[in-house]
Subunit: 469 residues, 2 copies
């Protein structure tokens, strides 16, 4: 592809993206292809010679597009949002064009320094504890950030002997704690870090899904009595199932007294801290040793960009640092080399897109984005409460409403299936205290009141069918 062909194709693609994002509500939200259908349609022999962009584009349009589930649709209410925005897309494009790898400061000083700067901005934007300034790093996902936090906690508890001699020889049985509502990534991290899922204690949650601190203390005491060493607590600022908020202050006080690492996972809900009226959920966050939030969920910054903060980065660096000769650079002592702050060695220039997003929207623009979703969600919750066939399955929080049919799990399951088959909207489900619940999570910058009210009308109509009326 020549530079001139790239210009033409690139202009066309920019125009296509703008049109796609403006019109993406016209597609069925959940892809309707059957398993194997896309694979069969793209199947072709390995090309011996180069093809023109037009051939690739035709195949993308014909064969890939039908297999896309439209996360950017204003009618996408599933899982959690995957925000993108025009300035974020430009940031990602610019990063791809520069093609730099920032494993070391010298590999592109601007990449390391802009990242530190923009993560400090985020501390201000979200009113995070001041000790997180100068202590942030971009990770791909909250799963990876939580794993890094757990590794540092593991090594702190073992005085860095785990890294040296291994857990089998280090002679301590470490235990870790999170809510029975917490994200599966904590269990996965416990497995990866070699601690074992049986040493992960699931702290009981209350009716709202929040950790019961007294139960956390009981579990730790019992573990200490049994000869175990508690090393890590992960509190959730907004669970995936229901946006339940763990009480950070009492959890933090227990963790501090027990000298246990407190990690706070604010993957989606952390973005709400941009608005002063939602900052009650961060009460006690200053007790956390680490915190992560995903601007790629709700802050208009396309995937991937998780912001991870550590109270004392040296503990993280000591956990993950390796220094072979071929990576020694002249400035090693004066500067940060982010390679020691996460699992991969290489890293791309992701700070650009967050810099563009914050500047393009400004604090007030980001607040307006969050507030509009919170407003729409509370309106939807009122509609649910006003229809006697439905009930809320958890207290509505921020941009998430969990609800169900009173007629029982099977009716609710049937409702969800038919909603998703309609193509008009896409929701997912969870279980809360053993019972099935539909989740409506609002996150697209294009979701307006008209979309949410149309979604509610559709839900009511399909409920009529499911309930046989």
């Amino acid at each position: 592809m020549t530079a001139e062909e790239f210009r033409r194709a690139g202009h066309d693609l920019i125009d296509w993206i703008a049109q796609y994002l403006e019109e993406c509500e016209k597609y069925p939200v959940l892809s309707r292809v059957a398993p194997g259908e896309v694979r069969r349609s793209v199947e072709a022999p390995l090309p011996q010679h180069g093809e023109a962009w037009s051939a690739m584009w035709r195949d993308f349009d014909r064969h890939i597009m039908p297999g896309i589930t439209h996360w950017q649709s204003p009618n996408f209410y599933a899982y959690f949002p995957a925000n993108s925005s025009y300035p974020a897309i430009l940031g990602e494009l610019l990063s791809a064009g520069l093609g730099v790898n920032g494993m070391l400061w010298s590999c592109s000083p601007a990449m390391t320094e802009l990242e530190m700067f923009v993560l400090d901005w985020l501390v201000d934007l979200l009113a995070l504890p001041a000790h997180f300034k100068g202590a942030g790093v971009i990770q791909d996902t909250a799963s990876s950030a939580s794993l890094c936090a757990l590794l540092a906690a593991r090594e702190q508890a073992l005085e860095w002997r785990g890294n040296a001699i291994g857990l089998a020889s280090a002679g301590a049985r470490l235990t870790l704690y999170t809510s029975d509502q917490a994200h599966s990534s904590i269990e996965k991290a416990a497995m990866i870090a070699g601690l074992g899922r049986e040493n992960l204690r699931l702290v009981k949650s209350d009716d709202a899904g929040a950790i019961i601190p007294a139960h956390l203390a009981q579990l730790m005491n019992a573990d200490r009595a049994a000869g175990c060493t508690p090393c890590f607590v992960s509190a959730t600022m907004g669970t995936t199932s229901s946006l339940a908020m763990d009480p950070l202050r009492p959890i933090g006080e227990i963790a501090a007294a027990e000298r246990v690492w407190l990690h706070v996972d604010g993957a989606m809900a952390g973005t709400a801290l941009a608005c002063p009226e939602f900052r009650d959920i961060a009460d006690g966050l200053e007790l956390a040793d680490s915190f992560c939030v995903n601007p790629h969920k709700w802050m208009l910054t396309n995937f991937d960009l998780d912001a991870f903060y550590v109270r004392e980065p040296q503990r993280l660096v000591r956990t993950l640092s390796i220094l072979p000769e071929y990576l020694r650079a002249a400035q090693s002592d004066e500067v940060i080399n982010y390679r020691d702050w996460h699992i991969p060695l290489g890293r791309r220039f992701r700070a650009l897109k967050l810099w563009f997003v914050i500047r393009s929207y400004g604090v007030e623009g980001i607040r307006a984005h969050i507030r509009s979703h919170a407003h729409l969600a509370s309106q939807f919750a009122r509609w649910v409460q006003a229809d006697s066939r439905f009930e809320l399955a958890a207290p509505p929080r921020l941009n998430l409403v969990c609800f169900r049919l009173r007629a029982g799990d099977e009716a609710s399951e049937a409702l969800l299936r038919r909603l998703n088959e309609s193509g008009a909207i896409h929701l997912t489900h969870t279980r809360l205290q053993g019972r099935y619940a539909l989740r409506l999570c609002i996150g697209s910058p294009r979701t307006r009141e008209s979309h949410v009210s149309a979604a509610w009308s559709l839900i009511q109509r399909i409920a009529d069918v499911v309930l046989g009326r």
Copy 2:
């Protein structure tokens, strides 16, 4: 930013990228900013209100560009290449525009199915063992891929009890093996997985930097005799320092006899397998349990894209799988959910860029790219050999030449420092058998004979200065 503003900014950015890539040799390759300089120049209060793209772009141009080290320059010979290409950039842009997250098949069936398809194409392109078909997954980096391989090996050796009860209770002391020339990511993986760096045995290498298989067998025997359980060998297809090639067949035979997982790291050199004349380095690869190669290094596909293959993916899935209610999807049994194949949960649509690259270049285009670099490297090696002040520090391989001044380490270090200060080219160094060596690694699609010969002339001129002639 409105759709119309995005179109205008996007067109300008596409044009800028084309111009940047066509002209990037005009910049000093290694950024000349001092530590803290970029940070000071971008420092600004958090913006309350949105700014125009023109303001961001001006700041990018003024403050970020001087802090960029130009990995795409034809005069970049440091570390390893970070290939980008026009079709790859378009693929990354399209992925950002679609903004889909493919953790589950249903989250966008096309993303999972195109990924499987294009990784099967790569099996054909690189003539990889046929059992890697249908067994590939895109990871961010080889570091992450190697970690996943080690985790599966760990669990296989522990019969999946590590995940369940933790390494401290599982009661086996696991050992792992790699060359004393292998990449630092293996040591990092040993730490993360809880095995400990002291249980990582560094197998001696021969003069060319390749593992001595007899020493591997000795180490394993000694470990077994001491009550340890060997679980994992990582062989390197092209070390970072000198592109040394571990002999895969004897290593694989030892691993098979010992029932130890064999991982092969072909991060950069694996791309050379596109050319039949370089496939001798893959002799024995069919004995590997897993293999990784980074198209983001030498195959024109911008960072990040590591292709990771596992002989029996079920072993990987069993190692990394978690299944909370909110991720249960209707099709779970019929399809692959890539979330269980790596550490992060979320994932972006990276297969698009590799699909576009392979189709845009074709097999012959990719071969021509590799061959031109191998040709230039061997030419450079001949020039080094013809100048009596210099010597080769290792046998030249593919696109890498390691060389030094005969005058000793200090002279070679001074040579490197002055070369990098010149801004004309960027090289990095390593140590081979204790002695300092400069590395010239050719990987840019824009590097022509004229660039390499200019680099050699500069090296000779600066050698004159360093040697006081």
